[in-house]
Symmetry: C2
DNA sequence: CCAAATATATACAGACTTGTATGTATCGAA
DNA sequence: TTCGATACATACAAGTCTGTATATATTTGG
């Protein structure tokens, strides 16, 4: 398969970047873990930054896919889905491979707003908030974007409180706040 | 002065770590910027990690001091102070030297929960939330810790939305959500 | 004023970084 | 089965990293 190695390389890189960080993970480590030669990497990507970007794109695609399916599988009405968000988040937090948000972490290491890597992180957040906006609109919110923005604040806040502060119940607490905000927004 | 160089070293390190990141900032860069010899650093700190810890301690002290004073200078009643939090946050976001939260960023690079650096970040969050709890109690909340937890979620969420997603009005939006939560918690 | 503590500059060790160069082997399709 | 693309291993360049060693200079306290 032509691009099978490329895929495997991106997967391995994503895994290591998420666990160990971006600067802390060297190219050689990724290659050893993936069992791929260095020239194969530089044949597919022109630099480490390009590999990071590919890993972030994959993470974005996978995460949003998983997230949307999980939310929609867990609750049927649009309103219930606005709250199910936080049950799904909590499930993520409880999983063994939780290492914080890939994008929050990446934008911490690549802090300049004009860095393409930082831009990819902003784009991801935009897409997630867009999804929340769709849910809010389906639930009949008068100002779907405003509600989505509020829920987004709670989501990101929960991720930080789980990862940085180690609060295991961060998403449950966020759900409590979301219930109040959703109730207020839907009347 | 005995510890004047140490202080200057920590200040310079904090500045560079905040702007450029922790792994991305080399010891030599800090020394050059501070105008200090390498042996002076290793006389005061036994490793780079120790210097990072010292920088985080200084940042925690300075930030909480500034934050509490700013909140209390901006509003007089406990209830108003619970909302003034977000005005102060917005002021921070608008400042030129905003590079995200030092502690969120550090815990992104030092992701293992048992890492002392990660621990220092968790401690900082705990102290900030403690302050919010005091404000909530003074405002007469029936469950001050619960309200503090909710406001903390909005605070951290706002920081992420400002830094990672580039939302310049993140704190203003968070204030809107906080108004609803505070109103609900104080009756 | 002298002695002890502290800071200095320079050099270095040893490991690590990204990216390139080179020659060999493997694999898929014509 | 032969040709071309792709992947391989190895070596290397040129620079970075943290931390140590050494010898000289400066500052500070008694």
């Amino acid at each position: 398969m032509a691009s099978s190695r490329r895929e495997h390389l991106v997967d391995t890189a994503l895994e290591l970047f998420s666990r160990e960080g971006y600067h802390a993970t060297g190219i050689d480590r990724i290659l050893a873990e993936a069992g791929v030669a260095k020239m194969t990497l530089y044949n597919h990507f022109k630099s480490k930054d390009e590999l990071i970007l590919a890993a972030l794109r994959r993470r974005d695609e996978r995460f949003r896919n998983w997230f949307m399916r999980a939310v929609e599988g867990r609750a049927k009405t649009p309103r219930a889905r606005l709250l199910a968000i936080f049950d799904v988040l909590q499930e993520w937090f409880d999983s063994k491979e939780f290492n914080g948000c890939t994008f929050i972490n990446a934008s911490a290491e690549f802090g300049r707003p004009d860095d393409p890597i930082h831009g990819a992180c902003a784009e991801h957040q935009q897409l997630v908030q867009g999804y929340l906006g769709e849910l809010a609109a389906a639930a009949g919110a008068t100002d779907p974007e405003a509600l989505a923005g509020q829920l987004m604040l709670l989501m990101e806040g929960a991720i930080v409180m789980r990862h940085t502060a180690g609060r295991r119940d961060a998403a449950i607490k966020a759900r409590g706040a979301a219930e109040i905000l959703v109730e207020r927004a839907l009347d």
